[in-house]
């Protein structure tokens, strides 16, 4: 993990009318880091993530992603990032191969690059026999692993993962995290949200958002020390209970 910063946010704020969804958050993420982005429902995680992906314009503050400004260069950002969410990632009515091809095409990769990499990817995922099967017919865990591979198919600088392991069985969940580690070792920065707090432990650093603000940001070990907690679960509960708006 180098010192090169691939995400920087400074006083980043998003307002919707009177409502401050994201309230002046500041943080940095280094190249190859696995950065956990936690928070209760409604704490502002999704809004913050959308701003960093170039999907939503911040109200004020500063932020750069992969060296590009989120205000002016959001189109350039999109070429340098990958995105995967639990809800939408693959087309169920396309085959495994067609999905890979499609995403490769979106990012303007050449046919030969796509072809070569598809073979490799199918082998890694043990999906060679299912290459022409509809994604619909795959078990959820396989879909999620495939979705992740597709999200980093174009070798982005950063991959944003929005609750990637929801509902996945414990064995596949670990296989999934293995893939995250490998991507991180290759220098891809991983920005991940999750509801499984044991997964927070797998991250290099974790930030916890409460009511639009980042209340805590450090390595899991230091956070546990700071909050005198046995597990990240406890840290999270201590912080999230302070929330005034999470349920409103």
């Amino acid at each position: 993990m180098g010192n090169e910063k691939v995400i920087t946010a400074e006083q980043l704020t998003k307002r919707f009318g009177d409502f401050v969804a994201v309230d002046a958050i500041s943080f940095e993420v280094s190249k190859g880091e696995i950065f956990g982005f936690l928070g209760a429902n409604g704490a502002g995680k999704t809004t913050a993530m959308r701003m960093l992906c170039g999907l939503s314009l911040p109200t004020s503050g500063k932020a750069t992603v992969a060296g590009f400004d989120v205000f002016k260069q959001n189109e350039s950002i999109k070429k340098k990032i990958g995105y995967m969410s639990q809800k939408f990632s693959l087309y169920e009515d396309l085959t495994v191969k067609e999905n890979i091809r499609f995403y490769g095409g979106i990012y303007g990769k050449s046919d030969s690059f796509i072809k070569e990499k598809t073979e490799k990817l199918l082998q890694q995922l043990h999906l060679t026999n299912e290459a022409n099967a509809l994604v619909r017919s795959l078990p959820l865990g396989w879909k999620q692993k495939l979705a992740f591979s597709v999200a980093i198919f174009h070798e982005p600088d950063i991959v944003f993962l929005d609750e990637p392991t929801g509902g996945v069985d414990p064995v596949t969940r670990r296989e999934f995290w293995n893939m995250i580690y490998e991507a991180s070792a290759r220098g891809i920065t991983v920005f991940v949200t999750t509801h499984y707090l044991d997964e927070a432990e797998y991250c290099n650093r974790v930030s916890i958002m409460v009511d639009g603000k980042i209340e805590a940001l450090d390595t899991p070990a230091k956070l546990k020390e700071q909050y005198h907690a046995e597990s990240m679960d406890e840290v999270f509960l201590q912080l999230a209970r302070k929330a005034t708006r999470s349920d409103g």
Partner: protein, 299 residues
């Protein structure tokens, strides 16, 4: 008489060409007043099982009895007395909290005031927002409202299909406290969840994967049956450590587990030499360790 009896239930979907077995010869029973957890990942067959028990789906094989009534023959009487909260919080987004609750009360032939004592503790948490439309509520509030709606007719058996999915850790904790309260009022509760850590909150649990029940027991009973030594290990480079651990003789399995890696030793092996520069300690297995072991045995 058990509150729920499931007897060799099998359910398949699809055509002849591609058959998906959602439930494969599943049997268990739930006692009166028990808080019974069905724990497994998405696609394990939890929703199919709940739909069969709430008379929404017909099984291919086997029978099930809920509160003394057969789910096929006596489906009408079951529909009168069970409460059901489907996976998606099934509320009307364009109706307010109050309107949703009143509506569900009337279709179950009752009024909000008649059984208010049952939902009082839960409803009071959302009552300040009672005029807000359900579509504008947070996940935790929707979950509470959906639970109130499922309870309003004082069901004898309550079926909750993944009530905590997509809800944050705080709301999840609160939800389990609410369930405990309901259990004390004598309601039998069947709850399904993909979160292994929620197992310890149930009286008994069934671990389910790929349509098959892996094990049924009390949470303690399940962990006691693990039967192998388990160590938690950590070092500075966790990824390398995992590869090292897997190559050690006597190690059955090693996988990440929170800030540690868990190392399962082969049967009969009591100890191994850990790689250098590691911190390790023997730990008790939890439900997730058991689930992983059971999954790997079955697969």
């Amino acid at each position: 008489m058990p509150a729920v009896t499931v007897d060799h239930i099998t359910k398949t979907y699809g055509t002849k060409k591609s058959i998906v077995t959602a439930l494969d010869d599943v049997s268990f029973h739930v006692e009166q007043g028990e808080l019974f957890g069905i724990i497994g990942p998405d696609g394990a067959g939890k929703t199919s099982l709940f739909r069969i028990l709430t008379t929404l789906l017909l099984a291919d094989k086997g029978n099930a009895v809920v509160d003394g009534n057969d789910v096929v023959k006596d489906y009408r009487s079951i529909r009168n007395k069970v409460g059901y909260m489907p996976g998606k919080f099934s509320l009307y987004p364009d109706l307010s909290i109050e309107e949703n609750l009143a509506f569900f009360a009337t279709i179950f032939n009752t009024t909000v005031s008649e059984n208010y004592h049952l939902i009082k503790d839960i409803y009071e948490q959302i009552a300040p927002f009672k005029d807000r439309r359900a579509g504008k509520l947070s996940g935790g509030m929707k979950q509470k409202l959906a639970l109130c709606c499922a309870l309003i007719h004082k069901p004898t058996v309550l079926f909750l299909d993944e009530p905590t999915t997509g809800v944050d850790a705080v709301s999840r904790k609160e939800f389990w406290i609410m369930l405990k309260g309901l259990k004390q009022q004598g309601i039998t509760i069947l709850v399904s969840t993909p979160y292994m850590d929620e197992a310890s909150r149930c009286d008994r649990v069934a671990l389910i994967q790929g349509g098959k029940i892996l094990q049924i027991n009390t949470p303690e009973g399940i962990t006691q049956q693990f039967g192998r030594k388990l160590f938690a290990v950590k070092s500075a480079n966790m990824l390398d450590l995992l590869h090292q651990l897997k190559s050690i003789n006597g190690v059955q399995d090693a996988y990440p587990f929170g800030e540690f890696h868990h190392v399962v030793l082969k049967e009969g092996v009591d100890n191994i030499t850990m790689p250098p520069n590691t911190v390790s300690k023997e730990v008790k297995p939890d439900i997730e360790d058991c689930f992983i072991a059971l999954m790997k045995n079955n697969g």
